[in-house]
């Protein structure tokens, strides 16, 4: 299964699709960190960076999963001994890609966005938020990949609307229905991000697990 993950990452890099996501991420980071935030707003910078990179991560996960022709996906499933393993290998490859891009985002936030070193608690929360962003991007990208949504137009609309819906719902009292992105940012600005993080992380993880389960069900139901 690791060999299949490597194969999918190699195809993603060799097809040069990875550069689309990388350029998009770099453009976003350049705009986001064009001026440093004042001292004391480190938590806000890290939360904003983790939230705003989610659509880019979803795009890259979708792009990685769609690199492989449908027929190759079938050959890979036969080769590694089952569709379940093929599915997991694809998701791991997408998560690795999202993790790498999220790490670039985190590094940019720390080096270019903040005026002071964040406290260890805020730094750890920032790292965890970027990890959750990678997982959220993987789940959203997987749900809008070609194996689930055949039409490219519907797929890209699903990705953008999915992210907007995530923002809208998380700005409402029913924020626990989705990854509470807006609550991450609000909590960071109110200074209680570290205190509220366990609750917010649990809600985020639950949504990601649900979304990935839905993806697996859609892929394996026949």
């Amino acid at each position: 299964m690791t060999a299949l993950t490597v194969f999918r990452l190699a195809a993603y890099v060799r097809s040069h699709r990875v550069f689309q996501s990388l350029l998009l991420a770099l453009a976003l980071l350049a705009v986001l960190h064009s001026s440093r935030a004042p001292r004391g707003e480190e938590a806000g910078v890290l939360a904003d960076a983790a939230v705003l990179i989610v659509p880019v991560l979803a795009w890259s996960a979708r792009s990685l999963l769609d690199t492989e022709p449908d027929r190759q996906r079938e050959l890979s499933a036969v080769t590694v001994g089952g569709r379940g393993r093929e599915l997991v290998a694809g998701l791991v490859a997408a998560l690795v890609t999202c993790g790498a891009l999220a790490a670039v985002g985190l590094a940019a936030a720390l080096l270019l966005g903040t005026s002071a070193r964040p406290s260890p608690g805020v730094l750890a929360t920032g790292v965890a938020m970027h990890g959750l962003a990678a997982l959220t991007g993987t789940a959203l990208g997987a749900l809008t990949s070609r194996a689930v949504v055949r039409s490219p137009a519907l797929s890209i609309m699903g990705l953008v609307l999915g992210f907007l819906l995530m923002l809208l719902i998380s700005a409402s009292p029913a924020y626990w229905l989705t990854v509470p992105l807006v609550v991450w940012m609000r909590a960071a600005n109110d200074g209680d991000l570290v205190a509220r993080f366990p609750e917010l992380a649990a809600v985020s993880l639950a949504w990601c697990v649900l979304a990935l389960t839905l993806y697996a069900w859609r892929r394996l139901r026949h």
């Binding site: 190759q72 079938e74 050959l75 080769t79 026949h222």
Partner: protein
């Protein structure tokens, strides 16, 4: 391996593509699957390979290692032939692919990007990736289409080798490329049903010391009947292609 009352449809309310298929496959079996276009041959092959689950019924006892050679190999991938086969070899736990490149006459293609392969070239890559791990179940979808004569001639031997090791070989084939094999089983798919005619294969011909090839000229209209009669008597008769006449 056993298929019990296997039915399949793509969506609820769609008609069944395969309906109530019952069959048993024993180690060493070589099966030729025929049927008109759209009859459901590829669907049946996907079911056998485990790529699709039956809507009803079960498929049990599938060998652990399956090789699947598709009718159209997906060439739209950013690898050369050798790089692709190396990746598949790693997925297969380090299976050796080099001997297959030699046997399938594709050594000159190894440095070619997949996207630049001809249909036959892509087909060979599909065969090599299916064969490299010594599959216990080898499924080939139209393997003779687009292949050069030298490689076509090798395929019956490859099928016999896999079967000789105790593997099961299922081949969808319109061209009768395996008809010369003595113990060939025939399956036909028609109207969703899977059928195995009771006396399908010609009786095995005792192999004489020396085989000779004869040419017989037959009026075109009588050809199918003539070929059927010859095969009925155990001779591996076949029509020579138009271009070779």
């Amino acid at each position: 391996m056993r298929l019990s009352k296997v039915s399949f449809r793509y969506r609820r309310r769609d008609p069944f593509v395969i309906q109530g298929a019952d069959a048993e496959l024993a180690p060493g079996d070589i099966v030729e699957l025929t049927g008109v276009n759209g009859a459901g041959k590829s669907t049946l092959l996907r079911l056998l390979a485990g790529l699709t689950r039956p809507t009803k019924g079960t498929i049990g006892g599938r060998p652990a290692v399956v090789g699947f050679a598709p009718d159209r190999f997906p060439t739209g991938q950013p690898f050369t032939v050798a790089a692709y086969l190396r990746h598949v070899s790693r997925m297969r736990g380090g299976a050796r692919w080099e001997p297959w490149a030699e046997r399938l006459h594709m050594e000159h293609l190894l440095a070619t990007p997949l996207g630049e392969l001809s249909k036959g070239g892509g087909h060979k890559v599909g065969l090599a990736q299916a064969l490299m791990a010594d599959p216990g179940l080898l499924i080939m979808d139209e393997p003779f289409a687009g292949l050069d004569a030298a490689t076509r001639a090798v395929l019956p031997d490859l099928a016999t080798e896999v079967a000789g090791r105790g593997g099961i070989v299922v081949v969808s084939d319109h061209q009768g490329g395996l008809r010369a094999l003595p113990a060939l089983r025939h399956w036909t798919v028609a109207d969703g049903g899977l059928d195995e005619p009771s006396s399908p294969a010609p009786p095995p011909v005792p192999v004489p010391d020396e085989l000779v090839t004869v040419t017989v000229q037959v009026p075109a209209g009588e050809l199918p009947r003539f070929l059927a009669r010859m095969r009925g008597e155990g001779y591996p008769a076949r029509e020579i292609e138009e271009s070779a006449r």
